[in-house]
Symmetry: C2
DNA sequence: CTATATTCGTCAGATAATCTGACTATGAAC
DNA sequence: GTTCATAGTCAGATTATCTGACGAATATAG
């Protein structure tokens, strides 16, 4: 409500959204122009060996149903595939597919670019401190608990 | 895509969402249980002397139409009111109404509480550095330019 | 001053994202 | 081997969001 000293949450929103927009724009410019923001938010959480739907949902902070809805679309567009989970017949692993891998490379490059810009603006020291503080904050704010 | 070193944007998402959830839950618990997350995102940007719809939209990063839709609901629920803008007959100022003011007090208290927890976890020094870094980041990431 | 362009907000309609509740199949615990 | 919990899906409803078009008021150019 104040103009000058936004609360820490709001400040994070601004930077977080900027990163998100930069990445999505770059991906779209690279030809991956189907893929929405909501889909990307789920996609980016897929681990190298595949991730269960429930975990994606938890990390993206949406319901399993919503995550499933978005993964359906990512699957139809060729960004991901679902494979049975060897460890549990109820579960399926969402994996990055070929098209997704290519898009992921573009995304990673932009993330690095933006982080570089941030580091340049803050200076290496402050950027390191920022990462450290955010990492610590995660300990008390992340509802997702990897098992 | 990696589990351990999330990018800075993702880390901010986690903390930002945690703050958001804490505040919304507390507001709901205080009896303001109508008011959705999307509405709150617009509401919290209203300045002490009222703010134009367009500015709210810009800050919340949604279209004017979406902001208008949400303000309509906030207005019907008694959280805000619209008054003519003396400086421009096309515009209207969205102002916090009585009910909104009460909710705002609750919200501000929770924000302070959460920030206190963060400071306790990080230590005063790191919390200050975090604020500083985020404030600086805003200079290059905030699409909203107050006139 | 007028003519033109821009900005502010709204209306209308379509689409996307999200949720709650109910259900099946499988796995875990006693 | 019942009973309870978990993973995912189906169905339906609601909420949030966008694009496009518009009227009214303001700003700009000549």
């Amino acid at each position: 409500m104040a103009r000058d000293d936004l609360n820490a949450g709001l400040l994070m929103f601004v930077a977080y959204r900027a990163m998100e927009k930069r990445v999505l724009d770059a991906i779209a410019a690279a030809g991956f122009d189907d893929i929405t923001l909501a889909q990307a938010r789920v996609f980016q959480r897929i681990g190298p060996d595949g991730t269960r739907l429930g975990e994606l949902a938890e990390q993206a902070q949406v319901t399993k149903q919503t995550a499933g809805f978005l993964v359906d679309q990512l699957e139809r567009a060729g960004y991901v595939e679902r494979t049975p989970d060897p460890a549990d017949a109820r579960a399926r692993l969402v994996r990055v597919a070929e098209r997704g891998r290519t898009a992921g490379v573009v995304a990673a490059a932009v993330v690095a670019e933006v982080e570089g810009e941030w580091a340049a603006h803050l200076g290496a020291r402050r950027m390191t401190q920022l990462r450290e503080a955010l990492g610590m904050l995660r300990e008390i704010t992340d509802p997702y608990r990897p098992r």
